[in-house]
Every structure is written in C-alpha cells, then in structure tokens.
C-alpha cells in the first residue's frame, strides 16, 4: 500500500502568533511527508508546536495564529493557496481531524446522530440511508447499542464514548489524510489503546494516511512507522521508529526516551526527567533551541544546527548527532551530565 510519492507534503511551514507588525514564530519551518497507508508520528512536549502544526495543515487556526510561509501540498495541490471555500470542500473528505478534547469538541446541544450525519453527507448519499450509515459507523467504532445512542446528546456519553464518536465523525467521509491531534490524551489508559486500535483499523480499510500527534512514546512505538520529534517549533529528529528507539541522535529525543519507565531495564531509582522547561516563543535562545537544557552542549551550539541526514532515513538537528547516536541508551551514562547541565 505504501507508495513512493507522498500524499501530503509540508514544506517550510511557518506559523506565527500576533498581528502583522510583531510576529513570534510558533512553528519555525517544518517539513513533513505522509504517504498512503502510512502512520507518521509527531512527538514533543506541550508547547512544542505540534498542535499548531496540525491545525496549520488543516487551516483551522484560531484568530491569533497565522501561517506566514510554507506549503502544504495534498496530491501536489497547495492547500495554503486555496480560497476558504476551496479549502472547505477538501475538509472532511480529503483531510479530517480528530481533536484532543472529547469533552468540548462535540456540540452540546446537538444529538450525536446529527453531528455524525453532517460528515456522512459530505459524500453523495441518499437521505434515507444516512441514519443507517450513522448507526453502522457508530458500531464500527465500538459503540454498543448504536441504535439508541445515536439519539443521545454528548453529555450523556462518557469521555471514551465521545472520542469514539469523534473518530466516527472524522472517518465518516473516508478522508485520505487523518490528523489525530493527541486523540487519547484525555482518556484513561485502557480506553486509549482501544481508540487508537480502531482508528488504525478504520484508516487501514481505505488506505488513508494518518498524522498522529502525541507526547506518548509508547503510542509512537506501537502505532507509527515514522517519527518526527518536535522541539520549540521545529523538527529536531526524524526517523523510522526502529532506529529512533534504538539510536536516538538528538539529546532531546534521548531525554524523552529516558524519561519513560521501562520494563525491560533494571530499576534504577528515580526516573530521569529533562531539566528545565521548553523555551517560550518569546524567549527562544539563539542557536540550538535545546542548548540551555542540554547535557551535550558545546560552544558550537550557539549556531543553529541544520536537520541533517546521519544514516539512511534518519535525520537529526544536532552538531553531535553521530556521536550521540552511537552512545548506548542508558540512564546512567548521561544522567550526571543531564543534572549538571542546568
């Protein structure tokens, strides 16, 4: 199913906060590629610009954010140059979104069926069969008793149920690209896996591509084929899942992996955390944005490292990427350095 030409290609995407006069870049030039049938993860801490990237692609940014440069090519067509009307015709059918907050992303005064039908009607369908389609969709996302749930209001459903409805709404018009913006962050762990499994299953049915945005490395390992690690508005490492987990080349990626509890390693007391906080868009440091928190910092880090290939299909934006990739991934090795780092 995976083909060579990308279905969705993002080039040099820059999205800024504020009006024309003083812009602060929230997304500082992101490139992404998404092929048919593929799941690509975008990982990073809160505030790294993941969600803004996702919303920029679907052109669903709020009033204070604006995409100021770049291209979003869907099958070669630049979405950023389309009129609002042209973009609207693509939404739902070509590009759909599952949002983070199931509690607030459904309209509280409309029945589930009504909200689902809006997506179903994006493709030509006989009015009489809309309800049957809606019931079938609810069933396909694991909602029991869909015949009665279809007439319920969002507040009558649990968070997990609502997110299932959100997935049903997103896949209803069989989109070619699905952007899942932390689809399970608000849910408990057992529900998380169910929702992600069925989202993958629905997308696999019609060979669509998924951009999975998450901060959960466990989710990445299980569902994605490729990973983009985002930090302070830019991609700092990009790789297939195996090499990223085996040989992380960016200190930030190492930090993320080390901060995960692992069952396959001996217990070593405290989990290591990355010291400090990610910089705000207003106080982003010169050069490498990670350097104030980095244990591997050298003088050269005051110049911004480019995203460079270090192995086949593996890129990283760090001056010491090759060296770091060869280090064993082990808490003890860089823990003291990490601590003295700030």
């Amino acid at each position: 199913m995976v083909t060579d030409t990308p279905l969705l290609r993002v080039e040099g995407l820059r999205t800024a906060l504020g009006s024309d006069g003083n812009n602060f870049d929230v997304v500082t030039g992101v490139d992404l590629e998404l092929r048919e049938g593929e799941t690509v993860a975008l990982v990073g801490e809160s505030g790294s610009g993941k969600s803004v990237t996702a919303l920029s692609i679907a052109r669903l940014l709020g009033p204070r954010l604006r995409t100021v440069a770049g291209k979003v090519l869907l099958n070669g067509k630049d979405l950023l140059s389309l009129s609002e009307k042209g973009m609207r015709q693509l939404r739902g059918r070509d590009i759909a979104v599952v949002f983070q907050e199931p509690m607030t992303s459904l309209n509280p005064v409309l029945r589930i069926g009504t909200q689902l039908a809006e997506s179903i009607r994006r493709n030509p369908v006989a009015a009489s069969s809309v309800r049957d389609r809606a019931i079938a969709l609810l069933k396909s996302v694991g909602i029991t008793n869909p015949e009665s749930r279809i007439d319920m209001y969002p507040h009558q459903l649990s968070g997990g149920m609502r997110q299932r409805v959100m997935v049903a709404i997103a896949v209803a018009a069989r989109p070619r690209v699905l952007i899942a913006d932390e689809p399970t962050t608000a849910l408990d762990v057992t529900t998380q896996a169910q929702i992600l499994d069925l989202m993958q299953a629905r997308m696999a049915e019609f060979g669509a591509a998924t951009l999975l945005i998450t901060h959960d490395m466990g989710v990445v390992a299980r569902y994605a084929q490729k990973v983009n690690v985002m930090y302070s508005g830019g991609i700092v490492e990009r790789s297939d899942v195996h090499s990223l987990f085996a040989k992380p080349a960016h200190p930030y990626t190492r930090g993320l992996l080390n901060s995960m509890p692992r069952l396959d390693r001996p217990r070593m007391g405290r989990l290591s955390a990355i010291e400090g906080l990610p910089p705000s868009v207003l106080t982003r440091p010169k050069g490498c944005p990670f350097q104030p928190r980095c244990a591997f910092r050298i003088d050269k880090c005051s110049q911004k490292p480019p995203l460079e290939s270090i192995a086949a299909g593996h890129e990283a934006a760090c001056w010491r990427a090759r060296e770091i990739a060869s280090l064993p991934l082990d808490d003890q090795a860089d823990a003291p350095a990490m601590r003295s780092g700030s």
Binding site: G62, R91, F99, T104, S105, P108, V109, R122, A173
Partner: protein
C-alpha cells in the same frame, strides 16, 4: 416535571399576591376618586352614598379583605369611571398591547440576530464598529422622544405612515419601532458577544473540520447555543416592554392597556388599576415560565426535577 410545575405555580401565586397588594396600597395613596365625581348641588349624604357603592367607606383592611375575596373569583369590581367590570375592560385592551409588544420584540429579535451575527463574524471591521456605535445610540435614546421624532419625520413630514391610531398593519409600524429600538440595540450587542464566545469553542472548530457550509455552522451550531441566553433576556425584556408600552401607546393613541392604565390613574379608578396590575403580573409570570420550559427544549443538559 409535575413537581417543577407545582413549585412554579406556587411561586407565581406569591408574586401575583405581592403585586396586587402593592398596587392596592399605592392606588389608595394617590387620592380619593369620589372627589373627582362631586358635582355642584350634591349633598354630603349623596357623596357618602357614592362612597358606599365602591365600599370606600369601610376601613382600608376591610376593603382589602373584600377585594381579595372577590378577586379570587375573578371579580375586580366595577370601574369607578366607566361603570363596567374592571377585569373585562383590561382584558379587552390586552390584545392590542400584546400585539404591539410582540411585534416590537419579534422584529427586534430577528434584526438583532442578523446584525449581531454580522458584527461578530466581521469582528473589528468598520461594519462592526458602526453597528456597535448605533447600538449605543439605540440604548440611550428615550423612547418617548424617538416616538415623537418618528411621528414628526415619517408621518408629518413625509406622510408615509399614519401618525396614530389602530387597526391596520401600517398603524403598527411606528409604535413598534419606537418600542423595539431599545431591545433591538440590547439584543444586537448580546448576540454579538455570545456569538464571539461560541465561535471560539472547540465544537465550532470540529464543525469547520467537517467542511460543512458556513451558514450551517452559524445556524445549527452557533445560534442554538446562544439561544439559551437570548431566551433569558427576551423574557425579561417582555415584561419591561409591557411597562414601556404605556408611554408609546399614549403617544400613538394605541388602544392598549398602557393607555387604559394612564386614564385609570388620572381618574383614580382603583378597580382598573388593580385588575391591570394583576393581568400584567400574570403575563410576566407566564412569560418566565415559558422561558424556563424553552430552556429545557433548547438545552438538553437542563432537565427539571
């Protein structure tokens, strides 16, 4: 639901009793109606006889008890000035007032939905700023002045609409505008503010992500959500407008309750005043009951227990 209705009925009873009591006391503070009926050549005995007809010779507490007793049976007594049953006179003039206030409020609501939506969608544009300045004007203009200006310009100068009277649709236009401008301005601001709030909600972003038409997002997703606060304000405005109608009706010679009440007050016609206050209180209480029921229909999260 039945418990809810019972509770509402009880509290409505208390409200109406309070209004009727207050108006009973107040009406007796404004003077003696019999004094206006005295004619040259009447003897003291004649005057006492007139007093006795309306029970005005009894002590005030006794008058009140008697009044309450007959009011419970729907009898508010005979009009002192016109000699007919007071409640009948009031109910006769009620439709004209309801027509005027409903027309004013409905027109204001429909126009406010359009103007408020435009202002919210084109936020901070020239259109938005112009509309907001106009609403400030609309809320500051006294309605008697507006009514007089409308008559002067539209009727006297341009001869477009009748200056006063009742009967046809064209008679309704000017009084409805005079009465409706204030709620129009208020509702336009409210629609704009509420819509700006709703437009920033996550579920609107979800609706946009589906690629449905903008008008559908506005009508189905936004307006239903703002309807809840609109209903509250409209219910309150309806009561206020029935009061405001007094001035408007007087200026346009509209044969409604407002004019009847003004006449009653100038003739110290207690029974009409009491019946009128009762009917207005009843209408206001019913309006707020309808508003509460409407909430439950619009907002599925509200269920009365």
């Amino acid at each position: 639901m039945s418990c809810f209705i019972l509770r509402r009925t009880l509290s409505a009873g208390v409200v109406i009793f309070g209004v009727v009591t207050v108006i009973f006391v107040l009406s007796r503070l404004i003077g003696d109606p019999i004094a206006l009926m005295i004619q040259p050549g009447m003897t003291v005995a004649d005057i006492e006889e007139l007093r006795a007809i309306w029970n005005l010779d009894a002590p005030i507490p006794e008058q009140f008890i008697r009044f309450l007793g007959s009011a419970l049976t729907g009898d508010f007594g005979l009009s002192i000035w016109q000699g007919q049953p007071a409640l009948g006179l009031v109910l006769e003039s009620l439709p004209a007032t309801l027509l005027l206030t409903s027309a004013a409020l409905l027109g204001a609501l429909l126009l406010a939905l359009v103007l408020g939506s435009l202002a919210a969608i084109k936020r901070d544009s020239m259109l938005d700023r112009t509309l907001m300045s106009l609403t400030l004007f609309g809320q500051s203009v006294p309605n008697f002045w507006l009514a007089l200006m409308l008559v002067l310009v539209v009727s006297v100068h341009f001869h477009l609409l009748p200056p006063a009277g009742y009967g046809t649709g064209s008679h309704l236009v000017l009084p409805a505008i005079a009465l409706g401008l204030f709620p129009l301005a208020r509702l336009t601001r409210l629609v704009r503010a509420e819509l700006l709030d709703v437009l920033s909600q996550d579920y609107i972003r979800t609706a946009r992500s589906k690629g449905i038409a903008p008008w559908l997002i506005l009508v189905r997703h936004c307006l239903r959500n703002i309807a809840i606060s609109l209903v509250t304000v409209i219910a309150v405005d309806f009561g206020t407008l029935m009061g405001g109608a007094v001035v408007t009706e007087t200026i346009f010679a509209w044969p409604g309750m407002g004019r009847l009440m003004i006449d009653a007050i100038s003739h110290r016609d207690f029974p009409i005043m009491q019946a009128g206050a009762f009917v207005v209180a009843l209408v206001v209480v019913l309006t707020s009951l309808i508003a509460d029921i409407t909430y439950a229909i619009i907002n599925p999260r509200i269920r009365y227990a």
